[in-house]
Symmetry: C2
Amino acid sequence: MSVDGEISSKDIHFADHPNSVGMITPQKVVLPDPMALEAGGVLDRVEMEFETYGRLTPAKDNAVLICHALTGDAHVAGWDPNPVGELKQFRKTKPGWWDQMVGPGKAIDTNRFFVICSNVLGSCYGTVGPSSINPATGRPWGLSFPVVTVSDWANQQIELLKTLGIERLRAAIGGSMGGQMALEMALARPEITMGLIILSAGHRVTNQGLAFNAVGRHAIIHDSNFRNGEYYEGPKPLSGLAAARMMAQITYLSEESMVHKFGRRLRGKDTPDFTLTGIEFEMESYLNHQAESFVKRYDPNSYLYMTRAMDYYDAALIWGQGDLAVTAGRIKAKTMVVSFSSDWLYPPELCRQLVAAMCQARRPVSYVNVPSRYGHDAFLVETDAVRRLIGSFLKN
Amino acid sequence: MSVDGEISSKDIHFADHPNSVGMITPQKVVLPDPMALEAGGVLDRVEMEFETYGRLTPAKDNAVLICHALTGDAHVAGWDPNPVGELKQFRKTKPGWWDQMVGPGKAIDTNRFFVICSNVLGSCYGTVGPSSINPATGRPWGLSFPVVTVSDWANQQIELLKTLGIERLRAAIGGSMGGQMALEMALARPEITMGLIILSAGHRVTNQGLAFNAVGRHAIIHDSNFRNGEYYEGPKPLSGLAAARMMAQITYLSEESMVHKFGRRLRGKDTPDFTLTGIEFEMESYLNHQAESFVKRYDPNSYLYMTRAMDYYDAALIWGQGDLAVTAGRIKAKTMVVSFSSDWLYPPELCRQLVAAMCQARRPVSYVNVPSRYGHDAFLVETDAVRRLIGSFLKN
């Protein structure tokens, strides 16, 4: 495979990835109608990127929707033969972000289910967002792109299902921000899904989550390259985005996983160099590396839109005037909530609030708190536990 | 009092501050000898700012040393009549940072004790640091200032005591970074103090602490105004410093205290404005305000030096080749360790490691974990509990 060439199936060691969905074809759809947004804007033309795996039955009754997290995309499983721009380097060696979960015979079994995932509004992976061209001006939207919310994302998913002729899902599944989106779908349109799986998410972010999001945006907005979001033709505010990502990365891990991964080990040396601006610890090297890789593939403006949407979301306020039990009473889907013991971004206590509210409202809910050292990342890392939980949920 | 004028005792409502030490006089000392630093540099001329409260007995046997935290200074109690530059606005309305603890009849009783606090090397409050003038060049040191460590700070305190003719302290007391400094004094020179009080601190920072420090420095270093620390004659990297401070501020609170203080309350409105770059939540407003106030009074380079010193400190490595019990065996001072239940920057588990090591080494230690919602800030906020604990420790 040439560095810039198209990826073909002979480039991939499928033996390392048994039961892969193989080469996939990203799909685009333009919604037939303009979309009115919760914050007041209207998007006349909503182009969306999505992927599907498996086959839709003639009765269209085997669809499962996966909702991606903050910086995720529609590419859940298999290989994209022609990744766009900066994504090339990330996608040519690795399959989609939840490949371990989705495929023939896997927990989300593509022999049984027609699996869908779409990129959310405001993101930068194929669905319209601030880096897209505004048809009215011929230039990138930047901050003139309307503010989007989790409710808008839920509507966006529902509209996509309409275009696919799907009236009801077997399950909506999401982790972290994706869990909030799946929850919101089940609240906004209770008949839309028979099952609901929420991993590492709750009915809102914590105050700490709110605060970290605010600092991340602050770093981006105050980067001298930000220029009120009009940076697309010049240098981007990547230092700010890097700081935001490094900080977020801390919230995705746990103290325990950091100690296990890095401890206080120095990077490639036995004694410190006593440098103020260089790298001393493995911990620092890891954060820098994460940031460097992230800023190549993510749009700073999208980071503002995504985190704001997370901030605003409070299911109890939207559907129960602050009463979570009233909110939970709307849910008709059979629900499973999964938290992870060391997750402090969406801590088990928060997840349990939703579970308790569903119990109080006598809605069908099961709850598992998976013992894990991996913090918030656990929903992507604790593959065996998540596979078993999702697999058995979908079997019933 | 005029805005820029000198503060006099008639400006201060002493009735609001009973048992105040009153107006104080900041003091300066130049150490008689050059100081060799742990990281290898030598400072030929060490000028230090310090304050004292109470009177030293002729036998010089009633001294108590207070060690300040990351962004603290020597001004512990009372009013500074002539605060320098940017400090004016902060010091004219408020007494020193631990005024509630230090004064006649207070927990650290200036009728009994001669209380000392000095500003640490590398800081920006009167002791030499990167913003000081390098005598060799006539210009600010910037990053050519040598790297300093917690060991250097301990030595600095010991040298100050020498100049004051004090051979032994009644107690060394510090919270957070100051607790590490006090600990290091008791390890480096076990005879220097009879008592040791460590609040909200341990023998090293956590991995999360290491990571947050790294991100804070990253934000400063990548601010376009940083210019490798040579910013003193132009705009300073204050956006980076603001991001570092906002993030640090999150680590000083706890989720519980945030919920209690702010919850999800919007700032001055009932419904959100749906703004990406403006303020929506009280939480954001608080963080912004903290940052704005901080960047007026702190030098970004000093922030690099202080956080690096915290990173490097690992008492177990320095004194026990990694064995904390061996390290703890050096301590001769009667020790009290105080943690706070919701502190996640120096969590109770970390504080207990030091306590357990002292027990194992059969050193005299008492330990209290104060139930508190205030997170790391608790050591400054839980005044009643801290007052009782310190008061009774010093009485014995």
